[in-house]
């Protein structure tokens, strides 16, 4: 297995684990990712913090991104 394939497999394994656990929690009506994130951003201060993080992500990717694209 090439190094690249190994790295990608790692991401895939983590994503698969998340999907499996999400399915389990969804079936059991337990702590789904949505509920976990909702708890994480509960409260005005936390919400503002995550909002700034989300806005920065968009700025970083699209307004200051270096990907090549038509335009």
């Amino acid at each position: 297995m090439s190094q690249r394939a190994l790295t990608l497999a790692g991401y895939a394994a983590i994503a698969s684990g998340a999907v499996v656990y999400q399915s389990v929690t969804w079936v059991r009506h337990s702590l789904t990712l949505g509920r976990f994130v909702r708890w994480l951003i509960w409260g005005r201060a936390r919400r503002v913090l995550f909002l700034l993080g989300w806005a920065w992500l968009g700025w970083h990717l699209f307004a200051r991104g270096n990907a090549t694209f038509p335009g």
Binding site: R35, L57, G65
Partner: protein, 148 residues
């Protein structure tokens, strides 16, 4: 608080959007994403194109958000047992990303950013990622769903 105890039902928002209005809104968002994806970085138009929806989400998220300052019901708060797997997932992702970031060459050790850059190599990919970013912000901060 026992682990995996069924949580209080959250339900869905009672009001249903009008289908035609929803379709128009989705189409308008699609057009906006496509148009914004065609703008070049480090220019005023893309600055405005990103800042505008971010400002709208920010205002909607903080406007009248008093109900969201009420702490979630105890049943909807994570316990050590049901919250730890999510912490582990994000911890593993961060660690794997960091490992790839400090390794080289990048082709053999792709990071999430480098994969995003690859996806953004086309107009369609860039528009799709922009739409995902908008949906993420909307879903996290604006969407009103009955909370437990």
């Amino acid at each position: 608080m026992s682990a995996h105890r069924p949580l209080a039902p959250t339900g869905r928002a009672q009001r249903r959007a009008h289908p035609i209005r929803s379709a128009v809104a989705v189409a308008a968002c699609g057009v906006y994403c496509w148009a914004t994806a065609g703008l070049r970085p480090f220019t005023v138009p893309i600055d405005v194109g990103v800042a505008l929806p971010a400002a709208v989400v920010g205002v909607l998220a903080l406007w009248g958000s008093g109900d969201r300052d009420v702490p979630p019901a105890a049943e909807n708060q994570p316990t050590l047992r049901n919250g730890a797997p999510w912490v582990a997932v994000f911890g593993l992702l961060a660690a794997w990303e960091a490992l790839a970031y400090v390794s080289s060459p990048r082709r053999n050790h792709p990071t999430l950013s480098s994969m995003a850059n690859t996806a953004m190599g086309t107009h369609a990919g860039r528009a799709a990622l922009f739409a995902i970013w908008l949906l993420l912000g909307w879903g996290l901060f604006v969407r009103h769903e009955a909370r437990g």
